[in-house]
Symmetry: C2
Subunit: 230 residues, 2 copies
DNA sequence: CATCATAAATGAACGTCATTCATTTAGTGG
DNA sequence: CCACTAAATGAATGACGTTCATTTATGATG
């Protein structure tokens, strides 16, 4: 039933793919950068459900086992993807702009990037920074910004971690279905909650996840900003 | 190699298990509550890696397929577990105490419960509240507390969502390895970050995750509290 | 130029899981 | 007493991640 079964003989066949060969190719077909880009494309096209080692190998015209010459596990690929995505997070304003706006830019872009990649969050959250150079570079830029803004050294990391925790949680929230708060048949037994949900729906035309993110971020900005020694 | 293989014949055998039978037993062996408790025990003993439908069935002296008469998928079991765990989250103070302390109690207990169950977070974050009655009850208690504390109706849900996002993200952070911020060989190229990490380690004797959680929570309390109309 | 170690690919296993299904059985309502 | 049905079995299925023996082109070495 599989493709391999229906085209059994002749591994040199150029009918299926002119570039397919056996043994070492003219130049290495694979490397980590190529795998990362292919993974990113595949995820974009098929989502994380369709993201399997077999599917990834297929887009690279390679056998699944070939991938293991360049990465040691699927998790490894996810780490590569994560680190690549981090380069799309906007830290520019930390170099010059005012602290509050820099954090705003950073936080919104960080959330937006990873709300499309929530399956990476369990990976990031526990990943030693040394394993992801671009992620480390992001932390350096952010830390520098906090330092310049007058934060006491020992508060910088906790403040960043707190913001990041909020961002990761919010990335999940941004993917929640619109009717997540519909209490259905139990509405009558939860009057306070139900009326709060209704009032939100009536009053606001923005996406609920954006309202919550904005509210929380501004609260954190105000609270954390108070730590600065001007 | 499996137990089934090594004890092939006679399903009525009482040697392996005196209670094992074929067909409908005197009373149903399984129900959702029993499955939930068994799942919780299994997770406690073997973690989420060891939590498989086969392992769950084994602890219940039942074939894996039998579970599917009571739940429709493994995810279903996770939802049941999640809802059960939610009953351990402390919402008592919302009924009487001052708002700030109620939120503190709630947030810390919420984080503590789910930091031991982070694989549930992707499930919770996207789960319609109607599918988890105890979770819905928690929201009702919290909403009531916010209402009583003088929050405008349309801000209650966003405020709760913001707090919850922070709590979920912090639950992940609480499980991170201690050396997560060790920048290793790249330390010299990230001076700001590295010195901030060092200063934190020197100054604080508490767990870094707790410092960050406290810092973020107090900032959110201050910022969100300002929304109240006394 | 011959040879040789090696990087890098293949494809055929494996083992683990969740899930499905035909079948069997034992209570229960008519 | 009988038909219905809830609830269990265990065998089968199909993904999927990963391993491994094997093969081969390539570049370095002599």
């Amino acid at each position: 039933m599989t493709a391999a079964t229906s085209a059994p003989a002749d591994p040199h066949s150029s009918a299926t793919n002119p570039r397919r060969r056996v043994g070492r190719p003219a130049a290495a077909v694979l490397d980590q950068a190529g795998i990362t880009l292919a993974a990113l494309q595949l995820i974009g096209k098929s989502g994380y459900d369709g993201f399997t080692m077999a599917a990834l190998a297929r887009t690279l015209n390679v056998a699944p086992s070939a991938l293991y010459n360049h990465v040691s596990s699927k998790r490894d690929v996810l780490v590569l993807v994560q680190d690549h995505l981090t380069s799309f997070v906007d830290v520019a304003a930390f170099e010059s702009g005012p602290w509050e706006q820099a954090v705003r830019d950073w936080a919104w872009s960080y959330r937006d990037v990873f709300s499309k990649h929530t399956p990476l969050i369990p990976v990031i959250a526990v990943l030693p920074v040394a394993d992801a150079p671009r992620t480390l570079a992001m932390y350096e830029a952010v830390s520098a910004g906090f330092s310049r803004a007058g934060f006491p050294q020992e508060r910088i990391i906790p403040a960043i971690v707190a913001l990041e925790s909020f961002i990761f949680g919010s990335a999940y929230d941004a993917t929640a279905p619109a009717d997540i708060f519909d209490s259905g048949s139990m509405a009558s037994s939860t009057p306070n909650f139900t009326s709060a949900v209704q009032r939100l729906a009536e009053d606001s035309h923005e996406k609920p996840a954006d309202v919550a993110f904005s509210l929380g971020l501004e609260a954190l900005l105000a609270g954390l900003g108070a730590l600065r020694t001007a």
